[in-house]
Subunit: 391 residues, 2 copies
């Protein structure tokens, strides 16, 4: 493993659907997430939209573009049904095979991030089943998740284009679970009746099983990655107690959440929040190498109004309070440049590097003013607008 | 009109379909062109694919990207059914409205290029109805085409984002008609029974009617553009005889066609071909301002085999004769750089400027070796590969 070398970006919204990142895929339906989309459309139309989305949202040309930006690694969220064995969802392993060939052609590596689980591990819209957190309570689905990881390792474990495999994205431990419970409603409450926060004890055991399963399959230099369950302080003893080889701890940090925790958006608040996060990263990084697997420029200061932790126009009626009274292009660039640099400096404490969330957003900020400011989630746009500076 | 200022790119394959530019849209069908696609799919699936194509192939982010490349004008092919009055084809005027807002937001201007006609004006796949050339023989369809131009002028004629309107793309006069007749077969021969080359006399009259209809509607500074019917030498008298205001002659030049005319691909041949083309441009430009509305880097020298004038993998079984015996990346860059500079220099004789064909190709050159070399049609890729140099 080469440390401190990952300059990465997520390919969010492609193989794992997120309505806010590609709303046209959900047009004319009341589906809020990947789980309900096939129920909201006829089989033919569902398959047509999915085929077109996968063929268009990320293409060979994007791998070329990403490489030309100086990025060397992409974090690629994949759904639990990637192998096509969970009806009615469409498998996508052919698309993933193509992506590995693109990555190797253009000198990129892929971190496979298992982003969803049956019954959901977090209840986020990006977990595929909003408001439901029941995966960890179903032992057969925990085993299924492990089988997906094993099959991914068997298929890609020796490929030059593989950087590593991440066990599970953002499992909701208590703090995140409380936030989810307040913010997301299950469409069918019965499905959420058995909701529970995921315990760190569960994660310690699951990650140990994942390591034992994958390490013998993967080439020695491939990374096995674990998400921190939203708390970096719970992991030092775990990694000290095990002799893991080439493992990395993943931690996600968003300005929009720092605002909630620290109360309000100002440079001082962001700097204060980053100082705390940077300390926590540095402490754990002394025990196990850390990567910041998700972060973004998106923030309420540039937005000019409180994003309420990132409530977006597909989740709620968005009040366009500012109208034409927006920051100038020059002011916007200044804000984003400063917060870009602040974050990049902080991620310097994570010896492995970082992945921006995300490469692409297919929203229309010009014709739908509710999306004003949400284009900062796209690294492609942030580079073209000179909001992002050097990687 | 500001002369010599257009640094442009075409947005081909978006609102006018071309199978070779977006083959996934045609996946699983035997349709070769836009005309037969709705016949090959159920109504629901056709509409789903079209909605997803229009929402994904070109987006706000592409207008931003294009502007950030230093391009100031896009040539936007539109179909004759753009207003939604020709079933079963889907109108696209809402998408076009969005594009004008994007253009104005990012400081670009749009040249609206009426690219197809009922019955087809050229029989190319990009004319929407392969192998058929019957439009000009149907007076009511000639009138219809004029009505589309008039409605476009009424809708966008005062918009800052409008550069101008082009009357008709590539009408096939005798020489092009003979080439089409050899190369393209009508799927239903009866539809081609009345095929005829379009005469220059017809074009003189049609263009005069277009000018008379549009000039009073368009703002004074907006351009009315005419394609040369593949022969620059036929137009000096026409423009001398009329007192047109703010008109431009459009001429298209492809290396793959120069190869056919001059026999073989070598720097010497390309230079010789460009010298002749450059002379013809300069002569006509002394009478009427000229723009090179389509040109490309694509050529057989870089391809390493004869493209036969651009026969592509969706038109014929493509013989991948070279296999791994391809030019190195460095050699490719050298060829493309040299042919880029040769062409840009030649277009210097066209006082209005040029538009590359095209911005985007959604083909997969890595997983489908038949597409090797066809990515040079995409300016986005050519810039990221450093095949194209300064605009």
């Amino acid at each position: 493993m080469i440390m401190g070398q990952v300059k990465g970006v997520n390919l969010g919204g492609w193989l794992v659907l997120e309505k806010w990142m590609a709303p046209q895929l959900f047009a004319g339906t009341d589906a809020e997430d990947e789980y309900y989309l096939p129920q909201a459309l006829s089989k033919d139309v569902y398959e047509a939209r999915m085929m077109m989305h996968r063929a268009n949202f990320i293409t060979e040309a994007d791998f070329l573009r990403i490489a030309s930006l100086g990025i060397n690694t992409v974090r690629l969220p994949v759904p639990y049904f990637i192998f096509g064995d969970r009806q009615p969802f469409l498998g996508g392993i052919d698309t993933l095979d193509n992506a590995f060939n693109w990555a190797e052609k253009y000198g990129l590596q892929i971190l496979l991030d298992l982003h969803t689980a049956p019954g959901s591990q977090n209840g986020f819209d990006n977990g595929g089943l909003t408001g439901v957190v029941t995966w960890a309570q179903q032992p057969e689905e925990v085993d299924f998740e492990l089988s997906v990881l094993t099959r991914l390792a068997e298929r890609y474990g020796q490929r030059q284009g593989l950087y590593g495999i991440e066990a599970l994205n953002e499992p909701a431990t208590q703090r995140a679970f409380d936030m989810v419970s307040n913010r997301y409603q299950a469409k069918e409450p019965a499905m959420a009746a058995n909701n529970q926060a995921i315990s760190f004890e569960f994660l310690y055991e699951f990650y140990t099983r994942v390591y034992a399963a994958l390490r013998p399959i993967l080439a020695d230099d491939k990374i096995i990655m674990f998400h921190d369950g939203f708390d970096l302080t719970k992991w030092a003893d775990f990694f000290t107690a095990h002799e893991f080889k080439n493992v990395v701890m993943d931690t996600h940090h968003y300005l929009m959440l720092a605002e909630l925790a620290i109360g309000g958006s100002s440079y001082e608040n962001y700097e204060q929040a980053m100082a705390v996060i940077g300390d926590n990263i540095a402490k754990l990084d002394a025990v196990v190498p850390v990567v910041v697997g998700e972060w973004s420029l998106f923030n309420s200061m540039a937005l000019g109004q409180d994003s309420q932790g990132g409530v977006n126009p597909t989740q709620a009626e968005f009040k366009d309070e500012k109208g034409d009274d927006r920051a100038s292009e020059a002011d916007l660039r200044q804000i984003y440049n400063r917060l870009w640099e602040l974050q990049i400096k902080t991620w310097g404490n994570a010896s492995v590097g970082y992945f921006y969330w995300s490469y692409k957003m297919n929203i229309d900020t010009v014709n739908d003013s509710a999306w004003y400011g949400w284009d900062s989630w796209s690294l492609d746009r942030a580079m073209n607008k000179q909001w992002a500076t050097t990687l």
